[in-house]
Symmetry: D2
Subunit: 485 residues, 4 copies
């Protein structure tokens, strides 16, 4: 299975997308479409659970793309009913590269008052401690996934109803989570008190939809109603519609700013604004902060494109696709015995030699993680005869790992954790290298006054090292927080 982004191995990766629908005929087909639209949030595996009044709960979990795994009649027929939820996932920290099918969400639990299924996007930062405690008391875990804690906490709750049990369970849980769950008759959505990960509500005819992003509403023709609020739980039934509860102690909202930079699809709407436009605005801001004389603004495909369009518009320098992506990517070719320089990158990209030759080129990329591909791209551009190479990065230096549901390398693998901007420029051997400032990013996402350093408006821990929720399990494993200044 080929990677979907040309530099998957040098990007932060959102680990999950969730989707649920209630009150439609053959809910599974809608869930499959919704997950397909959310595939960029997790490509490793997907799962769907549905409930039918006559045939009860059914589930299917598969490795691979939704387009390949949830499109055959024979699979979809096993998932009847008007209510369903689904999940796409990248691998979690626990089982990287060795995921077993039993680790694939949604998880299902049979309680004395009936079954429930649950899927979530995010990460539970006290999962290890919870798991240990539950095993002591006789719970048998079926997966290595931390998310399974929620089901066991629910099983042990003394509450009568499943939503009430879920409240009990989620109050024990720390971290970032957007949950989609279902019982035989209810579709439930929850966002953690800080609202780190997204979750939106949509309407489809008489039915209701929950989704990580609005682009999955579009694919099924549903209308966007509103975002679920931080700390909100919605319990949706066919007869009563949406009931809203706020079960947690109130916290300041800290939405993930990287959703704007890279994770969300450009056609999704976040905070009332198209992600594409926000990225274009980042490019404009960057052109103001870090101008440079050049002949061509060239995006690193595909994610650098909107910021490059903005940069070109602001700077007046022509925009051009100097790098072409092979749309049939693959990364497992057998390397010929004769050396091919930058073989890996050539499978994915090629340079428009005639366009680049003798030009001063500005390369606009969304982020620098390890810096390995930035280097290879620079070499391809120089090989093609560019006169100068200037990197402009549409996010601040990524210097800290994320513990809220995003796959990041260990800290010492992050280029920005060990080098200053100038050191990175020298390391990459480019003529200039500039990242957008943190304040500039805040402005571009619409916070006119910039970052409130005393109480930041977003979670920007990957740039600032300021973690809104203490990563308890990681600290127990030796992670060093940023020293207080």
């Amino acid at each position: 299975m080929p990677p979907a982004h040309p530099f998957d191995d040098d990007k932060l990766k959102e680990e999950c997308g969730v989707f649920g629908v209630l009150g439609v005929k053959d809910a599974a087909n809608f869930v499959a479409l919704g997950l397909h639209a959310l595939q960029h949030r997790g490509q490793e595996a997907g799962g769907i659970v549905t409930h039918d009044p006559e045939q009860g709960f059914n589930s299917a979990r598969r490795f691979g793309y939704v387009r390949d795994t949830f499109t055959s009649q024979s699979v979809m027929e096993t998932l009847p009913g008007p209510l369903g939820i689904g999940h796409v996932r990248y691998s979690t920290a626990g089982s990287k590269g060795n995921t077993q099918i039993r680790d694939v969400q949604p998880f299902f639990g049979e309680f004395s008052m009936g079954g429930a299924a649950i899927a979530h996007n995010g990460n539970i930062t006290n999962a290890n401690a919870l798991r240990r405690e539950l095993i002591e008391r006789g719970s048998i875990f079926q997966s290595s996934s931390d998310s399974e804690c929620i089901i066991h906490l629910m099983a042990r709750s003394l509450q009568k109803g499943i939503p009430e049990r879920m409240e009990d369970a989620l109050r024990r849980v720390e971290g970032a989570f957007s949950v989609v769950a279902m019982t035989r008759t209810k579709l439930i959505g929850v966002r953690d008190p800080r609202g780190v990960r997204p979750l939106v509500l949509g309407k489809l005819g008489d039915g209701w939809v929950l989704s990580s992003e609005t682009c999955a509403l579009d694919i099924i023709g549903a209308d966007f109603v509103r975002e679920i609020e931080p700390g909100e739980m919605v319990v949706i039934t066919e007869d009563k519609g949406v009931e809203s509860i706020f079960p947690f102690r109130r916290q300041k909202s800290r939405f993930c700013i990287f959703e704007h930079v890279y994770f969300s699809r450009p056609d999704s709407i976040l905070g009332g604004r198209s992600v594409y436009e926000t990225r274009e605005a980042i490019g404009r801001e960057l052109a103001k902060e870090a101008p440079v004389e050049a002949d061509l603004v060239c995006p690193v495909p595909d994610s650098g494109t909107p910021a490059a369009v903005g940069f070109a518009a602001e700077s007046g320098i022509p925009f051009g696709l100097g790098i072409v992506r092979n749309q049939y990517m693959g990364r497992t070719f057998i390397e010929p015995s004769e050396q091919i320089r930058n073989m890996g990158v050539r499978l994915k990209l090629n340079v428009n030699r005639a366009l680049i030759k003798d030009k001063r080129v500005i390369l606009v990329d969304d982020s620098v993680v390890r810096g390995t591909t930035s280097r290879k791209i620079k070499e391809m551009i120089l090989d093609a005869g560019a006169a100068e190479v200037h990197f402009r990065i549409a996010s601040p230096p990524t210097a800290w790992p994320c513990f809220y549901g995003v796959d990041t390398p260990e800290r010492d693998k992050l280029l920005a954790a060990t080098m200053s901007e100038d050191e990175m420029r020298d390391h990459l051997k480019v003529d200039s290298l500039k990242f957008i400032s943190l304040d500039g990013l805040y402005r571009a996402v619409g916070v006119g006054e910039g970052r409130n350093n005393a109480s930041p408006q977003y979670c920007d821990a990957c740039f600032s090292g300021e973690y809104p929720v203490e990563p308890a399990d990681m600290i127990a494993q030796g992670f060093q927080m940023k020293a207080a200044e």
Copy 2:
């Protein structure tokens, strides 16, 4: 297998790509990489033949993408040797949708003086007649592919050497063909007398490469030497290098102009110029020919992008990605029982609603074939709240089928075969619709003075109905040529 272009079903499709290499260690690995870079020329199946002095000829043919079929150690180990050729194909007219593995090139024949393998891009316009004649004389065909005629003609030639037999055979053949062939020691390339389809020569260390396009030279780090000339046969050996022969009666060159418009990859070089730049020039020309007041120039992804960049630059109207392509495309989802409007198109594309809303939008596309997707896209754009929709098409109206190796619908399925430009505009219900003129296209590809109508510089039969080689088999089946004026 998902389609690679979002509108595969409404595009002309190049039917083949060819590649060959001589004088390198493990030629098959290079051929696989080359075919991967040519995958846009044919996605249905691929084949590789190699020769090793000790293990003789070996071949493998597979349905599916090169990245999936020619990347496993177990397959590649069966293809040893320093000499190899390969082929990717779309389906041919003869066996559409029902291709059998035996129809996949290269074809191999054992002659009394040794074996030879042959692959070609193009179409033989007198294949039916040749086939009938060969069967009468006792040839047993193993495939439904017309290309097999060449092997049988070679088997019956009275010449001693294989290149000489190939000359004999190709002189009997009419149509458009770029051939790559091999014997135990020779790599051979041929272009038909009019040079309708492309073929280039490259150098890789001490070895030699033949390829449909230069982008496949780039992927293996080979240097571009030159284009094979129309009517030229090159016979390449390790010791003597490239020998050039011109076996055919001389004809006026008529290269396929649609290679510039759509078939070739934007990073390939044709006629000394990047295809990307040519397409940008088409966009500029189009902006000059058919200007319109608007707020946004939006490409129909992905192939419309270079022309849209050119159109925006020339017109000064902002460029923006108003349509976003789902990179995990698929087309086999089960349609939910509740109606989703334009379900098919939603799987592939989504509109950036916030960007489009209340704007006057210019949509730039490379061509209009059946017009079905143009219509769906227009509806999506209007649904998203666009104020006006203007189509600008980077090629003249496609009104005639191609018989030279391109998959086109029957003539009455071509929108431009039955409607004028204005009728198409009304049919599509858009505010305006303009195609580039044939002269404009000629200027954009670099023919300053425009088309020489007495003796056109390119094959533009799909636009003009003027076929440089008479499609004998098709006429026998009832095809009506354009009436002489």
Copy 3:
């Protein structure tokens, strides 16, 4: 996957085989071989768990035959270590025809003092009640298998050690069970207090083996040590060897007599005697009880053969293979539109027409369950020109379902539940039909004095309707026990 017995669909089916080994290099390879030798006890799926001091517990579960699923290097390499257990299964009553991979044993549980895996052959007759109780208390079941109760009971035990927890758990469980289990260092075997299902101990070099049957010791060259006793638990470690415990209240032994008739392999040893010899003795006893004048003794292949050899030897009537089995069986051929009489049976068997013609034939079969195939075989024999057909059955009439780990049809599907011997003869339209008597069967298996009706020496519930353990769950579902006489 073809059935292994020609009349799988008209036989009682043992549901499981278990195997374990401790103290050998690469235990998984031995477990795979052992399971292969036990494949006749369950063909649907198999599982293996191993433990390695460095790599911990690993498991693999697969549908299909062991020869196909546990023979690839890539699978076996994932199962390192000197200690392993395995299981082959037919489907259980709960999930017939719809088994999911999570239902395949061994089951694994992580306890606070470490993990344990468990596999069992038999059936828990109070599983429903236990399951209900465990769910009330917060256990989350991962499978529909009743055997999972044991793991949850262990998780909730207050004992410190895993063997002690297993004792606790098994004391809550009713029914028939031969358990093989493992911790990080221990191999554990248990038979239920009545010893309904078999379990034997073997020695392999310095290592130890547990197996359902001795034939699986032979395949790996292990020596047979002894049978595990009814109600015994053996805990085996590398340093202390075999420790024997009797954790249950003592019960009278009631081994399954049908293991002698059909389930066990003829080359296994039960009660000190080859199963083949026992079956031959049954045939001799049957010849004494129910003689008939005839020309040929013909076994119904393959399971009727030993009894037919015995019948022929005792009666002096020639033995001959009048029915030939197709060794490439299959049952999914598309039935040709023209009627083929007894199509299904013809795929599996053919009659030796020349041998049968004009003969009086005695057909010896091991049992009659639904009677459907007896009827078809009779017709084939008559079609082939036999003069007379006499059925001799090497077991008493099967009139009651088994609830101890054997797959039996519902009672009203059992021919003998609704008809007397004479009615069956008329129903099958044969010249004579005789079953061995229950006393005769007891004599043949070595109980000289026959059955002790006050306190039977074996479990013969399928013949007598006298169930040694009350089938509580089935009675709750409405099953009618035999009225006390």
Copy 4:
């Protein structure tokens, strides 16, 4: 894929089975059933060609068992029509272990008067020479199979009709062949002039059947009409029925005597007699020729069983299944690191230890080829405690390779080619070893007076070295014929 015979690697192997049917609805389903019944004649691959008046010729070729490859609706639907032929094959000498799907019969050829498909059982002994000649004249071979010569010879014939062209072609061919062929309307069967390989005619309602053996008539309920005669060609049409032609120069009939010994299924009828009865007669003859005092006659399963039954009956020594075959055979298990003696044979067989212990055992086997498995079986029997081991072989020593469609090792691998009977006994370290005499075998197959040495009634070249057709290609490759005496 597991082997079907436990000692496939130490048996001669029939290389092909052929089957054809005309005048029935959905012929392909009947062909699939027929090939399934002939699976013992070739397990590597199978192919079916059918013709339908509307949909023309269709074919499918697959590796693997018929039960797995020709039973899915999706495959069989591609094979419509009332006329079809099929073929099962073992690998041929040319491509052993490396067969490609294009080598799988039936072969199809398009001639100017229409298409024809052909399949054959046997071997063409002058194929190399013919192939060379055809290539010289411009034929392109698509396979490495010698049988393809027939199609090319037909393509070059000057005759008008296909049957006439086939006559022409077969007159050029030497060797042993039973051919089944078809045109659009005709089903054709041919046996070579000596009738080395079998072919029978059957009637199914209004339709007709050709098959290698009668057991394939039984499976579809067809009636056996007669054997095709040596040198006969039957041309069958729906309206005219069977026309019989004798196109070859008359030769003395030399049917393969090994078909009686091993190749044919025991329930087939050869020369008016059940193969099972013939084998039982061989056992009786062997008991007369080579009696020995012993306690048990034990067949080597499964092919030795009929002769063992005959030997036991004649000698009065009890018959017993001392060796039990694992019906779930496989041969690819990973050998555990600790040595298991005779691992390979244990996967397939186990000894009934209790039955064998302290007994003098006569092992009856059908043939000895390399002798490797005879030796392993002897060891297993001795390990189990047998007092004496006596081998009795139901065929004469196999000392010469077969060139008529049977897979035999090279001559120096045949145990009997290098040792006398006594040397073999010592080599195998058994108490006695006796083969049936050649005369004894002739008597058992019904030739009362034994072999006519001047003009043998059968082909017995594998025993006698007297080849009825000169193996020209093999002699050209250096094979040494037996010196004339």
